[in-house]
């Protein structure tokens, strides 16, 4: 069975299980209402379609599995973590600090190695955007709790 598992099948199984779990939550929670007033009526139809299509995709993936692609794991992992942390801390630590950190990690993950260029872009681009939005467009970006001018 494990030999049949390929990346495509795993994604399809994950989708199937997600759909099935969501579908299960639509049963038994609300009283017996007419369709028009039942909040789960429409999503239930959609989730049944979701589960059915995911099942068909699992069958297709097992039949015509594609070889796993080279994942470039560290590069993608670093970038995904950087994106999520950037989104989480954007409003908490402010635009400038988070953007400098994100740009540095992102440029390194995307293969840049020239320190001066990375530093210039990672500091310069957020600084320009900060001036553009805060001073010219008067649309303040989230400020840092540590440095009021950033």
């Amino acid at each position: 069975m494990l030999a049949l598992m390929n990346e495509r099948a795993l994604v399809a199984i994950a989708l199937f299980l997600t759909g099935a779990a969501l579908l299960a939550t639509t049963f038994g929670s609300s009283p017996d209402l007419p369709p028009a007033f039942d909040p789960t009526f429409f999503p239930r139809i959609i989730l049944i379609l979701w589960v059915g299509l995911a099942f068909m995709e699992i069958a297709a993936a097992i039949r015509h599995g594609t070889p796993a692609q080279e994942p470039a794991a560290w590069r993608i992992g670093a970038l995904i973590v950087a994106v999520v942390l950037y989104a989480v801390f954007f409003t908490r630590l402010g635009f400038f600090i988070t953007s400098v950190a994100f740009c540095t990690v992102s440029l390194l993950a995307l293969g840049q190695r020239h320190v001066a260029t990375i530093a210039a872009f990672a500091i310069g681009a957020p600084a320009v955007l900060l001036i553009l939005f805060n001073r010219i467009l008067k649309m303040p970006l989230p400020a840092s709790p540590f440095f009021w001018w950033l």
């Binding site: 369709p35 009526f41 999503p43 299509l53 950037y86 992102s106 293969g111």
Partner: protein, 498 residues
């Protein structure tokens, strides 16, 4: 309305009015071209600046940003395969392959001319027929709207490249995502799992930017490539030669008609029009086999329709006070801020203002051609940036853009998660366009279905009696759905006979 034209032109052609038209359109194109910013954010960004202006210049500025950014969205869609808004997603399908072939300038030339044509025709249509069209739109009840949305959903079949199952699954996921949050009728929370932030639902723009732009950054990072390998060559817009239009004008006219028609109907929007038009062009074009590989007919269909919507969407916004899409909803706020109360009476109580707005809109679409050619050249340095810098800048713009829509930190998280999921799905060949179509059409589909069931006392069969428009639309949807299967059958039988 034509008799009011001199007065309308007098209101527009002031120093402030002309400056606003030119600078607003240029700014709109630039903002629309920036990945992750898009029309809604562009209009929202500019909204506070209009408060110190007069009524007409303020409304013209917002209109210029609106029309300019809708066109500008095609620049990023064609050059870096990253649509800023859902309406330019269909443009990626053929625009980017053309860019990869080294025809980025020509692709933008097709997009520019199609956009200008769509915008101008829709503006003329507005000036001549706005009151009548608004009256016809009133005939659309929930059942007719439900049938129309079903028709819109048939385009998922067309945009499902490679695997129909994957495309349909992505579309279904999109419709489901649109149902997360408060139930539109009872207000009860659905699939919120105790998270207060999910009560308001998932922000469309956050999901769209995540699955298109952020996932693109991740996808490019996953390919071991050198800095500028995937950047396309672009030296400015190249307008297609006159003879290249041969055999394409019919498609252009059809796409503009679709754009105007869909735009007028409340709650549908430019993304719907672009995908319906693209699907129709893909079905009817003699060059349909080249769709998805860089066929200009695909760009014409998408760009002419989404720009034609800009005019059409103004009809329900101005005449009924119902926004045609998210952008016109922001515009509605602008109008209200400037003392214009949109509604049925506006056309009769203040016809000069309406004439000035519509005439200004037509002028904006006229100057879109020279300004588009000028501004797109300014965008060229963006393309010469090494991919690592461009992708990093795109990610930063995505975060800024999503932050400015609602200022909600939760939306940023939604965008990040959508980006990661989009990346995983795209690696396995799931198209993202159906997901966005599902998310755009989902709420209207559900609302119209349930309202229809209320009207008919829960009877589905009543949907088919006494609603000739709905029946006609459903028949068309059914025919369009069965066409690919019929075509495949015909092809198979032809192969057998050969």
């Amino acid at each position: 309305m034509l008799e009011l034209l001199p007065q309308a032109l007098g209101l527009i052609f002031t120093l402030e009015g002309v400056a606003v038209l030119i600078l607003g359109t240029m700014l709109g194109i630039i903002l629309g071209a920036l990945p992750g910013i898009g029309s809604t954010v562009a209009v929202a960004i500019i909204l506070p600046f209009t408060l110190g202006m007069g009524q007409i210049p303020a409304i013209l500025l917002v209109l210029a940003i609106y029309a300019g950014s809708v066109y500008g969205g095609s620049i990023s869609a064609i050059l870096i395969n990253t649509p800023g808004t859902p309406q330019s997603a269909a443009t990626c399908l053929d625009g980017y392959p053309m860019s990869q072939r080294g025809e980025a300038g020509l692709a933008l030339g097709w997009a520019t001319l199609a956009s200008v044509a769509g915008g101008i025709v829709s503006a003329i249509m507005l000036i001549l027929a706005a009151p009548q069209v608004a009256a016809f739109a009133l005939n659309f009840g929930p059942i007719e709207t439900f049938a129309l949305i079903l028709l819109g959903l048939t385009c998922i079949v067309s945009v499902s490249e490679g695997s129909m199952i994957k495309g349909l699954l992505a579309g279904v996921i999109g419709i489901f995502l649109s149902s997360v949050g408060g139930d539109p009728i009872t207000g009860e929370g659905r699939f919120t799992f105790g998270l207060f932030n999910l009560i308001a639902g998932l922000d469309l723009l956050a999901v769209v930017i995540g699955v298109f732009a952020l996932s693109e950054v991740l996808l490019r990072a996953s390919r071991r490539i050198d800095g500028a390998a995937l950047l396309v060559a672009f030296e400015g817009i190249v307008l297609p030669k006159l003879r290249a239009w041969k055999g394409r004008l019919g498609g252009l006219a059809k796409s503009i008609a679709i754009g105007c028609g869909v735009g007028v109907l409340p709650g549908t929007g430019a993304a719907t029009a672009a995908f319906i038009s693209y699907a129709e062009a893909r079905r009817s074009s003699p060059r349909r086999d080249d769709f998805g590989k860089g066929e200009p007919d695909g760009i014409i269909a998408s760009e002419s329709a989404n720009n034609a919507v800009t005019g059409g969407a103004l009809v329900p916004t101005m005449a009924l006070g119902i926004p045609g899409d998210a952008i016109t909803a922001v515009m509605l706020a602008t109008l209200t801020l400037h003392g214009v109360t949109p509604g049925v009476r506006l056309m009769t109580s203040n016809p000069t203002l309406i004439a000035a707005i519509f005439t200004g809109f037509a002028l904006i679409n006229l100057i879109l051609l020279p300004l588009g050619m000028l501004v797109s050249r300014l965008a060229a340095p963006l393309l010469r940036m090494r991919e690592a810098f461009l992708m990093t800048a795109i990610a930063v713009f995505c975060v800024i853009g999503v932050y400015f829509v609602r200022g909600n930190p939760f939306d940023l998280l939604v965008m990040a998660v959508a980006g990661v999921i989009g990346f995983i799905l795209r690696r396995q060949g799931y198209p993202m366009a159906p997901l966005v179509i599902g998310m755009v059409l989902g709420p209207t589909l559900e609302m119209s279905l349930r309202q229809g069931l209320i009207i008919t006392n829960g009877s589905f069969t009543a949907f088919f009696t006494g609603h000739p428009i709905a029946v006609a639309l459903m028949i068309v949807a059914l025919v369009l759905l069965s066409l690919p299967a019929l075509r495949a059958l015909r092809q198979r039988s032809r192969l057998r006979t050969e």
